[in-house]
Structures are given as C-alpha cells and as structure tokens.
C-alpha cells in the first residue's frame, strides 16, 4: 500500500514537474528567456558576451538564452508558441508574422526616434516591434572588376546598358551572371531586384495596393518586369545548369572568377575575399531610365513578447543590447549589415571593411529612391505568410518555363489564399 502511494506520488510529482517546465514563458522569477540563433560568426561566444554586456546596463535582469536549432527563427518561435513556451525576447524574427497575433509589444516611439537613423524603417502600422539597428540592400549587383576590364565594359547605369554588358561578357567567353539557383531564396535574387526596381521603383506603395486588391502580379507592368528576367535566362547570361548550383557554391564560383556579376543581398559583402576585396565592386540593379532605386530592408535586434512577466526588465535589456555598437561589429564585418544607429560613423564600431562595403553603404546613406525589397521587407510591405516561398518557386520555374503569366497568376492565387 505504501509502495503504491509512493509510486502515485512520484507520478504526480513527475507530471507536475513536466508541467512546470513546459508552461509559461519565463524560466523562473526574474529570468527572461531569450531566443537567439547561431551562425559561424554569430556564435555562442558572441551571444554570451553580448548578453553579459547588456545585462550590465540592465541591472537585475537575468537571461536564459535558448538557441533556435536552425536559422529559421520564425519557424522555431512558432513551435515554441504552439507548445506554450513563447520566449520573452526573440532575436531577428519577422515581426509582421507575430505582431498581428498580438504576441509582441511595440517599443517606446520616443526611444526609437532618439536612437535610430530610420525610426520607422521596419514599423508595422506605425509601431516598431524590432529596433531598426541595421539594414541591407537586397539585392545589389556585385561585379568582378578584372573580368569587366577583360571584356572592356564598365558598370552599367540603364537596363539597356546592362544587357549590352552581358552580351559583351558572353562574347568574351565569360559567364555574365552567377546564380545559386539550387537554393530557392538565392534563385529569386534577380527577380526580386528587377521587381523591386521596376515595379516598386515606380510605385513604392505597390505592396500596400496589392493588399488592398488594387494591383495584381498579373498586371501588365509586372509581367513586363518579369519578362526582363526571362530575357536574361533565354539570352544565356546565366549558366545553363544554375538551378543545380547551391548558394554556398555560387559564392565560391563568383569569388573564384567563374562569372562576372552576382545579384545578391548585401550580406554577400561578408564573403568578399579579404585579400582580393579591391577586385569587387557593386552597383544597383539598373532601371530603364537609369534612375537609382535601392531595394532596401531594415533589420533589427530583438522583439519583446507581450506575454512576458517582466516587461520592464525585458525592455531595459533589449534597449541596452540594441544600442551596443559592439553587437553590430560582427554583423557589419561578417554579414555586410549597414548600421543604423543615430550619430555614429563606421569608425565608432571599430570595424575593418572593404571599399565595396563603403561604396554599398553610400547607397544607404545617400539620398535616392529606397523601396521595400520585395519578399524581404519586415514592415508594412512584408508579404503574407508563405508568399516568399511562392515567389522563390516562381523564380525557379521561370528559369525553365516561359509561362510568365501562369506563374504570376499562381502568385496572385497564393496571395489571395494567404490573406482571405
């Protein structure tokens, strides 16, 4: 009888312990759960050091760091939410995905206005859920200066010039464009660049109007833009087997001189070989009239859960972490992130960057037309859930299929399903 009672007590105790471990968002009184992720440069040491530094500026806060098993932070955050373990702080998630469900709290606007160059850079309906600490150009066109010189061409300003450059490179026996088509996001880069420059460059509100149902992917101007991508494919400016090239291999091939140009997000700057950095340059995706349009996305640090039991502590920690220039150093040097803290120059971050980084950064700081990088923006111009995948798939499909209208109709249908 005693044995049975003991056994029952143990089972109840174990169940209670399990429940205590799985329910609630905090790891204990005063301890905040902080979801991070790891990459070769943003490794465990980086996160631990940056947390330690931020905690010094947020006295009394204790952090329990958890790590996303992959770089898909959104996916992991959804799993945690579904199992009742939504973290207090979430690094580099897509705020539009979670804010709509009321899972995030916005930052104090006065604090955001006081500290960032583009305070509304990733705002959703006027509210900032992730401090806009850095930005990217997605994509720009990187080029190999040596191969350009060999073919006797200069960086083009207009789309017509761009086609001429491609043709001359091809005639010189040089593959004009590298494409890591084996990874869907990388395959979409030329299409993202052309759509952002051509469609959003002329109508920066295009994505908002798509939400309102005023415009469609199957509209004539979008079809015309996509046909430009088809022109690059059918003219043989990409390697024929580009859809079999993985993103990592495409970087190696481009930096190894196998192709003259590479449309990629500015994070590629972190992969420019240090000993050969001066051989690489960058220019914006050319437009028909030569006007400069920069497909732009403002990233940021961490979001704060609306479920946190210590909003004050979470906010103090998040603000301290976001304003620490040391945390941006790794992002600038390894990820080509452009810092967006107010009143700071590159020197303040104690970084070593290449000339092509500085030239690219100039597109961010210069006055020009900045539009949402389609599929990458995390503000009101973010696409509905699942649409990015559909855009990537369309990019791959259009590499082998001429059915531009059909692919755009599929995008419209997917958009309507996702927003109904």
């Amino acid at each position: 009888m005693i044995r049975r009672t003991m056994l029952a007590a143990c089972v109840v105790g174990a169940l209670a312990l399990t429940t205590a471990c799985t329910n609630g968002s905090t790891g204990g009184t005063g301890t905040l759960t902080y979801m991070t992720f790891e990459t070769p440069s943003l490794n465990s040491t980086f996160w631990n050091d940056s947390i330690a530094a931020a905690v010094k500026d947020a006295p009394g806060v204790k952090i329990n760091r958890i790590t996303s098993p992959s770089t898909d932070r959104d996916g992991y955050a959804k799993q945690l939410q579904a199992s009742g373990q939504f973290p207090d702080l979430l690094q580099s998630i897509t705020p539009s995905t979670f804010a709509g469900a009321g899972l995030l709290v916005p930052y104090d606007q006065a604090w955001v206005d006081a500290n960032f160059l583009l305070p509304q850079g990733n705002a959703l309906k006027g509210k900032v859920y992730i401090p806009p600490t850095n930005s990217q150009i997605i994509p720009e066109v990187f080029y190999n200066k040596e191969l350009f010189a060999k073919a006797g061409v200069e960086p083009p300003k207009t789309w017509a010039d761009f086609l001429t450059v491609c043709e001359k490179l091809k005639a010189a026996g040089i593959t004009p464009m590298e494409l890591g088509g084996g990874d869907p996001f990388a395959a979409s880069m030329p299409l993202v660049g052309i759509l952002s420059a051509d469609v959003l460059g002329k109508n920066p509100q295009w994505l908002q109007e798509r939400y309102a149902g005023k415009v469609k992917f199957s509209d004539a101007n979008v079809i015309a833009a996509v046909e430009k991508y088809r022109k690059l494919v059918t003219s043989g400016y990409f390697d024929e087997g580009a859809l079999g090239v993985k993103y990592a291999d495409s970087i190696t091939q481009f930096t190894g001189g196998k192709a003259a140009m590479y449309m990629m997000g500015s994070w590629f700057l972190g992969s420019v070989p240090k000993d050969d950095a001066d051989n690489f340059g960058a220019f914006p995706v050319p437009t028909a009239d030569g006007s400069v349009v920069i497909p732009f996305a403002v990233g940021g640090s961490m979001a704060i859960s609306s479920k946190t039991k210590d909003l004050d502590g979470a906010t103090r920690f998040a603000q301290a972490w976001s304003l620490d220039p040391g945390n941006l150093k790794a992002l600038i040097e390894s990820d080509g992130a452009f810092p967006m803290l107010k009143g700071k120059t590159l020197d303040d971050y104690n970084v070593t960057v290449s000339q092509v980084f500085k030239d690219s950064f100039a597109y961010v700081t210069d006055k020009n037309t900045k539009v949402a990088a389609i599929g990458w923006a995390s503000n009101d111009d973010a696409m509905p859930p699942g649409l990015n995948d559909q855009l990537y798939a369309a990019s791959q499909a259009l590499f082998t299929s001429a059915d531009v209208k059909g692919e755009m109709a599929k995008l419209d249908a997917a958009w309507d399903t996702a927003t109904k």
Partner: protein, 296 residues
C-alpha cells in the same frame, strides 16, 4: 502450487510490460493522431491560442489545391519507382550474397550500411556528389563523357530521378536483408530436385525462388512504400523540394502549411489524407501480395 504461483507472477510481469507498451502507444501515437484529427476540423493557427470549428472545409479545400495534387503526384511516382527498383535490386543482391563465407558476410554488412545512416547525412553525402560542381559531374567531365555539367538536382525530371536513385540506394540495404532472410528459408532440396529434372537457372528462380520469397516480398514492398510516402529528410537536404517545388513531397508540403503558412488545421487535414492513403495502399498491397505467398 509453486508452478501456479510462478506462472501468476510471470503473467503479472507480462501484463505490466504490456500496460507500459500500451500506455506509450496511447500517449505517443493514438493521442497525437486524435488531436491531429480534431485539428483538421478547425482553422488552428500556431500563433493564435484559440481556433474555430470549420467542419469539412479543410477537406473540401484539398480538392482544389493544385500544390497538394502536385506533391501527391510526385510522392506517388517516387514511391512506385523506388519500391520497384529497391526490391528488384534487393532480390538480385540477396541472391548474390546468399553465401556463408566471411567475404560475403562482410559484403552483407556493407550492403546494409545505407539503411543505418541518418537520412540527413545521406542527403549531404549525395549532395556533394550531385551538385553542379559535384563528384559525378567532375568525374564524367574528366573521362570525357560530358562537356558541361549536368544539373542533376536543377531540373525537375533529373531531380526526381536523382532523388529516386538516392532513396533506392538507402532502401536497397533493407530490401537485401529481408530477401536474404527469405532466401535462407527456401529448402535446398527443391533446388536439388530441380537440378535433377534439368531446370535452368531462370526456371529455378521463376518456379522456386520467386514464389518462396513471397512473404519477404510482402514485407519489403509494404515497408518500402510506406517509407517513401512519408519521406522528408533526404529531400529537404538534397533539393529542399525544388526546383520550383517540383520535388516537394507531401510531408514537405505539410510542414510548409503548418510552419510557414501558419495553417495547422489545414496541414492536419492533409496529414489525415496521407495517413488514410498510406493505410489504404499498404492494406491493398499486403492483401494482393499475400495471395501469391506459398507455404511449404
């Protein structure tokens, strides 16, 4: 008296073990299944704490879901192709390895190796072989068989073929072992009698071996089919479902629906469909193959 006591004690032990197994089965199979079934009638979203009952809407939507149809088509083609290839090669390998010497036993172990490797590892290994600058293209170019690299993973048809080859390679280890076990149950006397009657090698295979390994074939074919119908890891690593979703299996599509599109309810409905399909296919194939089983 002692015997009756020890038997009772043994029965209690067996009952306790069965109860644990049954409890685990309920917790980790039946309960999730029932929860998923319930979810399939709702608009459950991982980001919302509440969900609404939508009746059969999710099941109705499947009728018009082109992406689902494409993923089902791909999965079924792969399942049929791989099952036929893996079983044919498995029979051939088993017949070659049906010896008792040390070298054949070593070769049996080697043949089974792909089966014990994680699908993710296999995917990465084959990726280094099949990518544009991979081992296969480099080798073919060096021996002069091709001028430019072939996009093994970059065109829809070749990607299907490539995945088929990789999954066949994995499954062949399993099918070989199953057929080896089946072959060892075939009485040697039957071959001796056939030899006396002047039967050819083909006649011996067609009249003796093939009918008598039928029970093994039932197991091997059924498990091969089920394995491919739920395939996820190898495809994720090799192609990620591309190019242009052409190699997206139904398992990949379910994960996309649940964790990218935030549609747990619809993803659960698709999962229920796949479960029902797998069960129906497995039952049909099993009953079909059992009819041709021969017992001695």
């Amino acid at each position: 008296m002692r015997t009756r006591k020890s038997r009772a004690s043994r029965d209690n032990g067996l009952f306790a073990m069965a109860a644990v197994a049954f409890g685990l089965y309920l917790c980790f199979l039946v309960l999730p299944l029932l929860l998923s079934l319930k979810s399939s009638f709702t608009d459950e979203n991982p980001l919302r704490s509440t969900s609404g009952f939508v009746g059969l809407d999710n099941y109705g939507e499947m009728i018009h879901d082109d992406q689902l149809h494409a993923s089902l088509g791909f999965t079924l083609i792969l399942a049929v192709g791989v099952t036929i290839a893996a079983n044919a090669i498995g029979i051939a390998f088993a017949m070659m390895l049906n010896r008792t010497t040390l070298s054949y036993r070593v070769m049996r172990t080697i043949a089974f190796l792909p089966q014990v490797l994680s699908g993710v590892i296999v995917g990465f290994v084959w990726q280094t072989i099949l990518t544009q600058q991979g081992l296969l293209n480099v080798t073919l170019q060096r021996i002069g068989l091709i001028d430019s690299p072939i996009a093994w993973l970059g065109s829809p048809n070749l990607a299907l073929l490539s995945i088929g080859v990789v999954v066949t390679w994995i499954l062949t280890g399993f099918t070989t072992v199953v057929y080896l076990a089946a072959l060892q149950g075939v009485p040697v006397e039957l071959y001796d009698s056939a030899a006396i009657d002047g039967a050819t090698t083909w006649q011996r295979f067609a009249r003796i071996t093939f009918p008598l390994i039928a029970p093994g074939m039932t197991i091997s074919v059924t498990i091969s089919l089920i394995t491919v119908l739920k395939l996820y890891d190898v495809i994720t690593v090799l192609t990620g479902g591309g190019p242009a979703n052409s190699t997206r299996s139904t398992a990949l599509y379910i994960v996309k629906l649940a964790f990218t599109d935030n549609r747990f309810g619809y993803a659960s409905a698709v999962a229920m469909l796949v479960l029902a399909m797998s069960a129906a296919i497995a039952l049909s194939v099993t009953s079909l193959l059992r009819r041709r089983e021969v017992n001695f």
